[in-house]
Structure formats: structure tokens, C-alpha cells
């Protein structure tokens, strides 16, 4: 009853903002401190079971894998790209063009992903060049920004021990 009486008198109840602002700033500082700009990462999925000993005759429809050879300099940098017997210099664009000619885009009439590519890299070659080769083999970015898939079956040759 006493409370009602004071309300009738028109006294204002002031909210204490200070604790709330304290907590809010604490939260803000926490999130600012833990904030980290993370660039997106993506995967190249490779299905590579261990080579089982072939039983019987190999499938005649199955194309032999296309060999992509990556040679390295003494320091691990790329010295040459070869596809089969053809030398492509050090240009992954050329490799991409060659793969496009052989495999064709996924939207085309060619059977996509049927061709198997085997990457045979020198032991000391830096992994970034292998990733460049996988990128050139896997596909390319079309004019509209969409990814056009080329070969999906990628495997690695046994390591060339120095």
C-alpha cells in the first residue's frame, strides 16, 4: 500500500544502466578480441583406393590414365610440365587447355569425368605446384563465374624417392 502511495505521487523509478553497459562493453571487447578473419578453404575430393591386383582382362572401355608429369628444379620449384609426350613448358594454362581438348566440359556431349589423370610429380616439388596442376585438371571458371568441371578422377603416381 505504501508503494502505491508513492506511485501516485509521481516519483520516477530510474533504471540503473551502468551494470548493463558494463556487461555489454565486456561482451563487445570479448568478441573483438576473438574476431579473426578466416579466408574460406575448399577441398579437392579424391577417391583413391589402393591399386588392387587386376583380375582377368582389363575393361576395354576404360581409358588408360592421362599422365601429367611435373618436374622440379633442385630448389623444389617447377621446371617443366609434360602431358604424355608433350611438353607444356611451365604454364598451367596450357595444361588446362590440353585437358579441355581431351576431356571436354561437363555440359558438353563428352563423357565427363571418365578420363583418369595421374599426377606424377618429382619428390622435392613444392606442393603448391601440385595444387596448381590439380586446379588446372579439375576445371576452370567460366565467363559467368561458375565452375566448369573437367576431370574428376585424379590420382597420384607412386612417389619418386630421391
Amino acid at each position: 500500500m505504501q508503494v502505491r502511495h508513492t506511485q501516485r505521487q509521481g516519483n520516477k523509478i530510474e533504471l540503473q544502466m551502468t551494470p548493463m553497459i558494463d556487461i555489454v562493453f565486456q561482451l563487445l571487447v570479448f568478441f573483438i578480441m576473438t574476431f579473426k578473419i578466416v579466408t574460406p578453404e575448399g577441398d579437392f575430393n579424391i577417391r583413391m583406393p589402393i591399386a588392387a591386383p587386376s583380375e582377368g582382362q582389363p575393361d576395354p572401355d576404360l581409358l588408360p590414365p592421362i599422365q601429367v608429369r611435373l618436374q622440379s628444379t633442385g630448389t623444389g620449384h617447377l621446371s617443366a610440365i609434360r602431358m604424355g609426350e608433350k611438353s607444356l613448358g611451365r604454364n598451367f594454362e596450357e595444361l588446362n587447355k590440353e585437358i579441355r581438348q581431351i576431356v571436354g566440359p561437363s555440359t558438353g556431349p563428352n563423357v565427363t569425368g571418365a578420363a583418369e589423370i595421374e599426377i606424377d610429380a618429382d619428390y622435392a616439388l613444392r606442393f603448391e605446384y601440385v595444387m596448381d596442376a590439380i586446379t588446372a585438371i579439375s576445371g576452370y571458371v567460366g565467363e559467368d563465374g561458375s565452375i566448369i568441371t573437367l576431370a574428376e578422377k585424379i590420382k597420384f603416381a607412386p612417389p619418386r624417392k630421391p
Binding site: 579466408t39 579437392f44 579424391i46 583413391m48 619428390y123 595444387m131
Partner: protein, 153 residues
């Protein structure tokens, strides 16, 4: 002016309006809360991933991922421990046993995520893949950092 003078003279306190500041602060908190990323389990500052134009983040999470981080020195980080390529079969066998003893999971269904440093040797990556294959793993995901433009060679 007249009102303020009157207030001051009568001893009333001039309080600033806190509402815009609180609004902005909450907006900032909401912004940072949405962008905060605690999933740093599979990331390591020692690894500088290679760049690729086609490395798009996966639409769905990979099935039973096991992350192997390859440093530029040629060592492998798995579950907070560092191994050499020769030592790698031991923890892989352990992972395989865990998968085999878990109902509904299999070694063939699991994915080995390889986060290799851009300067790691290709041969080491191949040896790691070979060691995983020897333990029955078939699915591999080579991780790269997404870039907008193709890297010049």
C-alpha cells in the same frame, strides 16, 4: 536555452540520451557474434595452404574427417601430436581401429583431409596418401585456400 538554464538553476541533472549508444553497441555485438568462428580445431598457424581458384568450401560436411596437417619440414600433425612419415602408420592404425569399433562407421567411408603446407614436398604428400591407403582409407580431400584469380606461374 531558457529551459536548460531553468533546469540547471533548479539543480536538475542534465542526462545524455543513452539509447543511440546502446543501439550501436548491440549492433556491434550482434555483428561480432555472427562472425565469430570457434572452429579452429583443424587449423594450424604453421600451415600456409596452397592457393586455388577452384577450392570452394564444401556444401555438406565431410563424412568422418581425419585431418592430417603437413608442415613444410615434412612432419605430420595429427590430434595435437607431431609425427614423421615413418611414424604415421601407428596413429593411422589407431584411427582405423576406432572407426572399425564404432557402429555405422567404416574406414572406407572416412575422409582423410590433407592440409599440406604450400612448401611441403609433393613426395611427402604422396607418401602420406600411400600410408593412408595401406590402412584402408580411400577418400582424400586436399585442402586449399580459395582465391579469386589464378596464380601466375
Amino acid at each position: 536555452m531558457a529551459r536548460r538554464k531553468r533546469l540547471r538553476s533548479s539543480g536538475g541533472s542534465a542526462e545524455g540520451d543513452m539509447t543511440p549508444m546502446i543501439d550501436m553497441t548491440f549492433q556491434l555485438i550482434a555483428f561480432f557474434m555472427v562472425l565469430v568462428n570457434f572452429s579452429e580445431v583443424d587449423q594450424n598457424e604453421r600451415i600456409r595452404l596452397p592457393l586455388s581458384q577452384l577450392a570452394k568450401p564444401p556444401d555438406a560436411p565431410l563424412p568422418d574427417p581425419i585431418t592430417l596437417q603437413l608442415t613444410r619440414e615434412g612432419t605430420i600433425l595429427l590430434g595435437g601430436q607431431e609425427f614423421s612419415v615413418e611414424q604415421l602408420p601407428v596413429p593411422l592404425r589407431r584411427e582405423r581401429q576406432v572407426l572399425e569399433n564404432t557402429p555405422g562407421k567404416s574406414v572406407r567411408g572416412a575422409t582423410i583431409v590433407i592440409r599440406a603446407d604450400m612448401a611441403a614436398k609433393a613426395g611427402i604428400v604422396q607418401e602420406v596418401i600411400r600410408a593412408c591407403q595401406d590402412n584402408g582409407f580411400e577418400r582424400f580431400a586436399l585442402r586449399a585456400k580459395q582465391v579469386a584469380e589464378r596464380r601466375p606461374t
